[in-house]
Amino acid sequence: MNNMNMVIPGELLGSRTEVKAGTGAYEESENVCSAVFGMKDKRSGYVNVTSTNGFYMPNEWDQVIAIIADVDQTIWITDIRASSPAILRANEAPWKVEFGNTSHFLTVGDAAVVRIKSYDEIGRIQITMADKNLRKINSGYIVEIPTNKIAKLIGREGAMVNAIKKLTKCRILVGRNGRVWIDGENEGICKTILAIRKVGEEGASIDDVEKVIG
């Protein structure tokens, strides 16, 4: 990591005539400044700052792993590691849910692979399960890593996650919210968890991960 590219909140990134503010940056009078502590990156006329640490900001169509926090007559209230709880309506579920029968399908503590349907300006998050590959999670383990390490875990064109899958023979599903689902043989799961933690805590490379898995 090059310290020259590291910026702290408020640091000048350029003039508005030269660049536009991307993620982690804001515009103030004639200048573009950093809003977070992280690494700056200029690309296609935009300057982005990737925070070294951070919380999950939902984006529409992100695939995430939700954990049910509460159940109502027609909705599930879920935790997706965002600043507000996400709502899953019964009509967005892949089942025919009768009024008051929601807990029969998903109850508090259950996990599901969902997609962000909408995230509005007043912080309301709607999620959906009405799409292919979206389902309730019935087996395996869920590991949490910082959301800014998800890109690293996936790697270029999925190189990192595919290498872990190949070495441990586990099924892995990476949620954009920093939750990773793992299923397979016990030994493989243990090695996968270690490898994912290594990426999450230290930003390890493929070679480091191969060493951890052995």
Partner: protein
Amino acid sequence: MNTKENDEEKKTEKGRLIEDNGKRLDGRNLDELRKIQMKVGVLNRAAGSAYVEWGKNKILVGVYGPREAQPRHIQNPLKGIIQATYNMASFSVSDRKRPGPDRRSTEISKIISRALEAAILSESFPRATIDIYLEVLEADAGTRCASLTAASLALADAGIPMKDMVVSCAAGKVDGRVVLDLMKEEDNYGQADLPIAILPKSGEIVLMQLDGHLTREEFEKATSLAMDGCKKVYELQKEALMKSLERVI
């Protein structure tokens, strides 16, 4: 003999808080800060954290969130809310402090929240709250400035979007002279204390309090001295954040 009597003796022994050579009781010049050490990322369970040693002050700060604000009636649908909780440990001062919130800690919590609100881009997390817990482990005058500086570091560590860092420093009047960063004896027996906090990029003042009396000239001199102190503290903040990357690299 308790510490208060010790301080009284320390002061009266020499008669003054500033010696003839212009040095203060701890050997500092009038415009010199106490020794400051900052460390970021000291708590694993917090979203962001910082530890600051400012002279004999020791402050630990943890940031949690953004998370859903509870109870729901405190939620703001247009922006997040900032809730700072300043607490002095019962062992932080020489006479045991009665644990729990009191008038002073409620006031400091409030002013720290207000000062940080000016910097945090809270529109990014409507209906949510950011909880900041400030624990004073050892106190020796200037804990609000040290706490605010540490809170700003912990927020940057947590990846909370801010338009600028917040830095704080105090100036005051001791033995008729304007001095920077008052220590305990100077705070107790001095004539004035002026803590300020600024956004260093714009110079915008986000906190200013005055305890004591200053003339207009003294006030202007103290403000300018405290501003210069803030800029020095800002450099230390930057250094501490960059140093925190060593654990990532």
